[in-house]
Structure formats: C-alpha cells, structure tokens
Amino acid sequence: MVLQSLKNCLWLSCVLRTPKACFWSTASGGLIIQSVSNDVYQNLAVEDWIHDHMDLEKQQVLFLWRNSPAVVIGRHQNPWQECNLRLLRQKNIKLARRRSGGGTVYHDLGNINLTFFTTRKKYERMENLKLIVKALKALRPQLDVHVTDRYDILLDRQYKISGTAAKLGRTSAYHHCTLLCNADKFLLSSVLKSPFKGLKSNATPSVPALVKNLFEEDPSLTSEMLLDAIAKEYAVQHQIDHHITLINPADETLLPGISDKTKELQTWEWVYGKTPKFSVSTCLNMVYKDSILDVKVNMDVKHGRIEVCNIDLPEQWLPPGLYSELVKSLTGSKFCPNETTALVTTLLRVCPQDNELHTRWSLLCENIIRLM
C-alpha cells in the first residue's frame, strides 16, 4: 500500500538521488529506486518487501542493487551441488537463497542486479531484457548484445553477460536479472564449481555458461554508467522523470517489517533447510596407519537434516556401542559441518579415554564433516 500521507508532504524533497527517507513518488507509471546497501540479505529482503506490500497497479518499480561478494542460489536449488561451500567459507563469501527460481549466480560489486516489479498481469520478461539491450546499445552502439529465448543476454553471440529469474505471487510479480560489468571472473568460476561427488537430487541444476565482463569489451564502462543508462531507458519507456531514489534497506520506518525479512533470509532453515530432498553416496578414503580404508557412506538428507545415515566401517574398527551412538546422533542432525563438529567432539567426552580410539574417531568424523 502506498503511504499516501507521506507522499503528499515529502514529494518535494524527492529529487535526483536523494537519500531522504521517502521514495513514494507521485509520478505515476513508474518508480526507480536504488539500494545504498551491499548486503545481499538486506537487498533480497527489499525485493520481498516490495513484492508483498507495494501496490503495483498504479506504478511499476525498477530496483537497482549491488552486493559485496556473495553466491545466490535459486529457490529450489541445492547449495552442495551448486558451489564450493568450503571455498565460500574460507573466503568469507556469503551464501543466500533467493525466492525466485532459476540457477546460481556469483555477485560482487562488479555485477549489477536489476529487478522489475509489475502486477502479475503485466509480467513480461522479454520486454525488460529488450529494455536493457536498448539501453546498452544507446550507451555503446558498437556492443553486440542480444536476448536469447532462454532469457539470457549474450555478448558477441557467445558470452553470457546476464542471467534471469522470476517470482510470481498472487497479484504481483518480479523479474530480476544480473549484468556482468566488472566481476571477478576467476573467483566466480572457482566458487561455482562444486567438488561434491555422489550427490543425487531433483533440485534445479544450473546451466554453466561462458561469461565475459562488459568491462573487458569496453574498458571505459563502469557499473555506475550502466545503472544510469538502464534507469534512463526505463524512465523514457514509462514516461517518468529520470529520478533515482535511494533507499536504505535497514530503515524499519520506511519499510516496516524489513528486518524480520532480512533475518529470515539468513537463517539456516531458509538457506540450507529449503534444499529439496537429496542423497549422498560416496566413499571415504581414509589413510590410517600406512593403509587406506575405504569407507562407504550413504546419507539421505531432507530439509537439510540427515534422515538416514549408513557408514560402512570395517568390523570392530570402532566399538559397536560407539558406532551406533554416532549413527544415532547423526540421524536428525543438520547436514552442517559446524553442528556435526560440535556434536562429535561433545560425544567424545563420554567415550572411553583411549588414544587409539580417539584417533580413529577423529579421523572418521573429520572425513564425514569434510563432505558437508
């Protein structure tokens, strides 16, 4: 619902790129807003908020945002399958799950995000992508960019510079897409490669593609220029002023309920717990005392928790009581290295104090944790 009262008194203060706490413009037809935050969770929360609360009948919205390094997976994807989680943790790259479908993307400040909000009836992805291409060509006429029927934008007919995803609700819808300006391609390809073997799942897989930065094609281009060009084209097509209103996703008065949405997007239950059911079937090759042990591990994971757990150990390698204790504890536990580490180290306290036993236990557990 649009804040009618605010609209009236604060209209005059809404000028070009003002950081004032009002982005309800009376200009009908369209509204362009840009986030001042680079936090992926906050920005995704803004999308949710607009989708749930804004009346898009009278005005459509274009939301511009950029994130500090993050990997964003689609609504129905499997993070273990899509990216290198260990590398993410090492490099402190955030992992987020968005509410729209589609594949996995890597975000950093060299990658811009554009979200087109419309009513459900006016949802039209092709039009939006054509708008972007038009803006790019207006900025640099020599750029060879075009839209494919998979809703990608290709540069020079072979390099993907934009990926698309969408979310449809009851009355409103949004289509968002990325645009590669100057992202870290090396990091992108390494984080989006999963080392996981033996994973079986019906989660939406990503389709890998050759990528290129627009900056590589034309070094005079910057993210700001691209954002501006697209905003200008949007303004022209919606017959509104070329105003970009800045918004702060942490502003609870402007966006009531936004902090709850932001928190929800960061919970383990959302990021990992929403992974469709999958199974892991792999073999641990453990080096123990000059020999290699092949240990088959089978696990079924539902809602991010281990539903079924089978570890094929050589007989008596661990005392049977301890082995069953391990399996029992893992069942129902999160498929998460942190939780599992805390669990197995705590369990060790009630094991017989035997160095040999402790070594075996640690070896096995570390290998299992490495899977997660």
Partner: protein, 476 residues
C-alpha cells in the same frame, strides 16, 4: 441437508445459506431474512477442484516443488498452497477458497498442467462467520449493511472471510467497490478501502489465533427487534491466550549435550568460591593492551587467568587429571589444554588452548583470538574442540557473580568467573578504596580431589592475579 452442520452451529445466525438446514424456523420470519444470502460457495461440504491458473507467457506446464499444506489442513482464502517452478520462474499458488484440503493431485517434482485440478478443497460456507463460542450480536439493520449490498438491483457478493473482515473493521459493504466477478467484493477491496481511510500500510493480516477476543469486542448488543428469538447477553470473559505448545525432537548437538551432562551428573561435585581483587591486574592490562594491539592482538583478561591456572596446575597436577570409567586409575595429563567455554549459536562449545604450560601470556592471547573468530564464524575444527584437560568459563562477560559450573567429562575440575565489579574494600591501612572485585566459583570431582587441594590451588591462582608481578617469578 447437513445434520452435522446443525450440531456445530450453535450460534445464532442472521445469514443463512439456502441449503443450510434451519434449526430455528422462527429465524426466517425476520424481514431481512427474506433476502437470502448467496455465497460463491455452494452447499456445505462440497468438494471444489481448484485448478492451476494461468501463469502467463504462454506457459502450459510447471513442476511442483513444494507443498505448503497437506491433506486435511484447513486453509483460508489467499493462504499459500504450493510453490511451482517453470523455466526460472518460481510461482506461489494461493488458495481461492476457505476450506479443508481433501486431495493433492501432484507429488513433489511432478509436472502440473495449467487448467487442470491442483487440489480438491472442501468448501465450508459458514466457517468464516462466527465460531461456537461467539454470539454474533448485531442489530439487523447494521448487519444487513455488512452483508448485503444492492447496486442497481444486483445483490453484491462477498465470501464469509471478507464479510468478517468488513465487520471487524466497521466497514459498510455498500461503500466498498467490488472488483471481483459480478462486482464481488474481495479481500483486497476491503484492504484498499481501509488503506485509503487510514493512509497507512497494512501489514499482512495475522493468523486468527487472537481472533476470538477481537470478535467478542466487536459484537454489538442487539436492539431487541427480534422478539421471537432469545438473545443471550454477551458475558464478559477474560481474554483467552491462544498460544500453543510446540514440541520438537532433541537432535544433533543438543542430543550430544544431553549425553554429556547426564554423564557429568555421575561425578560428585563440590564447590569452592572466592573473591579476587583484580585492581593491580586491571592496571597492568591497561598498560599492556596497546602493546598487544601493535602486534595485532586483542588482549583481554582471559590470557592472564589461563596462564595463572596453568602455573597453579604445575603445583597441583591432580586438578589436570582424568579418572577412568571404573574409577580404578587416575591419569595425570602432561599437557595443560585449558578450555574456554564459548557461547555460540549452537550452544555451549569449549575450544581449548593447547599446552599452556609452554605458552606466554601473549601466545595465549593470539590463540584465543584465533579460536574466538573461528567460533563466531562457526568454523572450529575437531582438534580445537577435543583434548581439553581443564576448563574456565567466563560467564561474567554475560553477567553474574557466583555460579555452580558443571564439570565436563573426562576432566575433574572447572572454574566459573563472574563479572568484575567495582566495590569498596579496606586496604592494609584500614582505608576504604575502590577495588576491582571478581568472584570465582570452582567445582571439582570429589572422588579424587579434596577441598583442601582445591582451596590451595585457588589461593595460589588468586595470589598470582592479585599480585601479577609474582607471576614473573614462576613463569616458564
């Protein structure tokens, strides 16, 4: 005719669907009763097939990815039913009806077709109005306003949920423009109307857990126009708290804690507490903090506490021991791996600093920094969390003075440190001065540790901290 419906509808209704059986024929005599209320739903208990509506862009099939409801669940209009995916678009399908889900036509990962049934819903026509306990008291006239609208001779329709919403907000349906089929008034129309009135953003309506008291409050006392019917006077009831208990299984880390603490219970604990004057240590730390910062390390009090404990353990090694399961043998551990209790999202985890007996205070500070940052990032490894021989728990950072810590097996002792308080104390000259006081509460395994040993250890530890210069003499 639904006899079941009669039994459950004990409240008096003004509106009756043509098909609901009448238990009180006199109700039909009222003038407004002649205008029978028609809802979009048909008779009670009818199964309606809710079809998958058009997604747009010419899409004909989608994949069902998640169900938000299951068979037997009750849904309201606009509740989310499921999530489907089509070519990078994720769509939330919401219910068009109030009712009970009777059948799901697809399983997860099935392909669903636009225009074909998605779920079967049993429509409950009278559900939205009043529950058993409520007495809906409204003068016939105003009720009429709420429920009927005649525009150009057409009756206007609104579902029970919409009617209730209008009633709760004292909205006259006649003033609301219906945008649904046949000028039907939809929930959005009411919400839009409200937004225009208040100029405020309306939060999504909360689930009706708190509905009963609300409805009671809005129940208006009837003007006794309906003489033939007995109208009970609403009794003021205290607001009922409709919160529900929530049961969850104990899993994962929590389960492990249950096991550990149950084992700890078998240890006969005794406690010993004392007060430490940290005035000199506070001063010393202030001097050393900038030096540590230059080296890139944050220096807290813990490194001092830990080093002092290790020096004490050199004199009283039984506190750094372990008793085997059968209480037959005591193992004196050579390494002082002193654990530091940390509060994380998981709960209580205890990483330890290895071999404190050969570490300097600075070394300990470095290691603590490392463990703390790994702990908050949730990346502690198994080696960091195993092998501890003695534990200190600085509960004072959260608050508290005295505590009764629980020994973590296979250890035999633990110390809980309270917060540092500024308190008045007497010095040797009998003068009152400002002292920085901290309390320590030790717990030890009485099977192999006696009170005297614990007390002597504590005194030694205390003396090192009260007079930090004395640590220099014994530092290795």
């Amino acid at each position: 005719v639904c006899i079941h419906r009669v039994r459950s509808c004990s409240s008096i209704r003004f509106i009756k669907s043509k098909y609901v059986c009448v238990f009180d024929k006199s109700a039909l005599k009222f003038s407004h009763q002649q205008r029978l209320f028609r809802t979009s739903a048909v008779s009670c208990g009818q199964i309606v097939q809710f079809k998958l509506s058009d997604i747009g862009e010419g899409i004909t099939e989608v994949t069902v990815k998640e169900w938000y409801i299951k068979e037997g669940d009750t849904v309201s209009q606009f509740d989310s039913i499921c999530e489907v995916q089509s070519d990078k678009a994720s769509v939330t399908i919401t219910s068009r009806y109030d009712g009970i889900i009777r059948k799901l036509h697809y399983s997860i990962d099935d392909i669903a077709f636009v225009g074909k049934p998605l779920v079967d819903i049993e429509i409950d026509a009278s559900k939205g109005v009043a529950s058993e306990e409520d007495v809906v008291e409204t003068p016939p006239m105003s009720h009429e306003e709420h429920t009927h609208q005649e525009i150009k001779g057409h009756k206007t329709l609104a579902t029970p949920a919409v009617r209730r919403l209008a009633m709760e907000n004292n909205i006259k349906l006649s003033e609301v423009v219906g945008t649904g089929k046949d000028n039907r008034i939809l929930k959005e129309d009411i919400l839009n109307y409200l937004a225009k009135q208040t100029g405020a953003i309306l939060p999504p309506s909360p689930k009706a857990e708190i509905a009963p008291p609300q409805r009671k409050a809005e129940a208006v006392l009837a003007a006794p126009k309906d003489k033939a019917r007995k109208i009970p006077v609403p009794v003021s009831r205290p607001i009922e708290f409709a919160g529900k208990d929530k049961t969850e299984p104990v899993t994962g880390f929590q389960k492990a804690m249950v096991k550990t603490m149950s084992a700890a219970l078998k240890i006969p604990h005794f406690g010993y507490s004392d007060e430490i004057d940290l005035t000199q240590l506070v001063q010393l730390r202030e001097e050393l903090k900038p030096l540590a910062e230059i080296r890139g390390v944050k220096l807290s009090f813990m490194p001092f506490f830990i080093k002092a404990a290790s020096l004490g353990l050199l004199q009283y090694p039984i506190l750094n021991a372990s008793l085997d399961e059968n209480c037959q043998n005591v193992t004196y551990k050579a390494s002082h791996n002193i654990g530091v209790a940390m509060d994380t999202e998981q709960g209580l985890i205890v990483p330890n600093v290895k071999n404190v007996q050969v570490c300097s205070v600075f070394d300990i500070a470095v290691e603590l920094n490392r463990l703390q940052s790994l702990g908050s990032a949730g990346q502690l490894g198994t080696s960091d969390l195993t092998g501890g021989t003695f534990t200190l728990s600085n509960i004072g950072t959260i608050g508290g003075t005295y505590a009764k810590p629980v020994i973590l097996p296979p250890e035999v002792a633990i110390g809980a440190l309270g917060k540092i308080q500024v308190l008045p104390r007497f010095n040797s000259k009998g003068e009152v001065f400002k002292a920085q006081i901290m309390n320590v509460s030790w717990s030890a395994d009485h099977r192999i540790i006696d009170g005297a040993t614990m007390a002597r250890f504590s005194n030694l530890w205390k003396s090192y901290l009260e007079n930090p210069a004395s640590m220099l003499l014994d530092l290795k």
